[in-house]
Symmetry: C2
Subunit: 218 residues, 2 copies
Amino acid sequence: MQKVISTAVIKRLPRYYRYLGELRKKEVVRISSKELSERMNVTASQIRQDLNNFGGFGQQGYGYNVEYLYTEIGKILGLDQEHHVAIIGAGNLGQAIANYGDFARRGFDIRAIFDVKPELIGKEIGGVKIRSMSELKDYVTNQKPDIVALAVPKEHAMQVANDVVSWGVGAIWNFAPTELHLPKDVVVENVHLTESLMRLSYNIRAAKDKQKESETEQ
Amino acid sequence: MQKVISTAVIKRLPRYYRYLGELRKKEVVRISSKELSERMNVTASQIRQDLNNFGGFGQQGYGYNVEYLYTEIGKILGLDQEHHVAIIGAGNLGQAIANYGDFARRGFDIRAIFDVKPELIGKEIGGVKIRSMSELKDYVTNQKPDIVALAVPKEHAMQVANDVVSWGVGAIWNFAPTELHLPKDVVVENVHLTESLMRLSYNIRAAKDKQKESETEQ
């Protein structure tokens, strides 16, 4: 039986991983859950609970071995495997993704970029040539990318997602500001920038309210 | 006393808002929590709970008035106010943000972009001229942007964030893959693309494990 891990825990794992990576670079060998929690703004008991989902890793009175914990969380995140990524859409966002150096380091290998615009086709972005959308079906069928990053206008997102899924793609990284309705076995991760900006706006308003309140109380 | 709203609820509000906006465009007048929940992949009781945080809005047997709920959630999200945004960093990511049409529609007005690269300065992106970083202090001090979008390399992110905060900026939309340590009253919203990709990778691995398991069980 597989244990169901809550999305909140899954959301925190990459942060742990990134932070442990920084410690590792500084050649820190071990860290207590208290220290880890202070740096990460999470309670120590939260960290212990999170990691207990995956069998613990800590040792009473010793804390965590940085290298070991980093490697194990990497495995949980599937980062011990290479992922073949194709980007659809070579506008600013598609180009930003292609040029983002961090991904290659993590084993996300961007091997192809597609666009409809004739003036973009043939151009190189981050060392990868932009191909015509007319080549997409052939590419996906034969090269079988693990992940398709969708950076197309929202009007086209659903159609393109349906196409690549029907050609065998199992995971979509969606940047289009729309909800994709896809078969349940397709993995979808959304980057909704407008929603992120709305959360920022909410927190600005909440901070202002709080300030007003404390002024009234004085 | 202000009620503390959980971040999970705040994360869902923009989705409700986006979805209600779509209904509104289709001139749908009212919707039941059951219908809303099916479209949004959240339970009906979850929706009622979420909206009860802000005083309800629903009516037994009637459901929700789309226009009213849309407007009220907009107010909660602070979208009834115009936000003045400045982008720092005019690389692909900064340019993608500047060109993202959705933001202006939501009242996020991108009025300035800054970069250090001489070859970029003076160029226009989405109708806004790229300025030199040497003008940043003057601009922030005099024009007082509500939000600074940080699209600079991670090595510079902390320094630039500290600078603009010391000049009066209260909200940072951070795209640099690093944790910003800033005074508690500064509102920070992070867009960590690598972490999003890691969650995708986790879910790919989890889906594979599940498939293997069901094959073994047969």
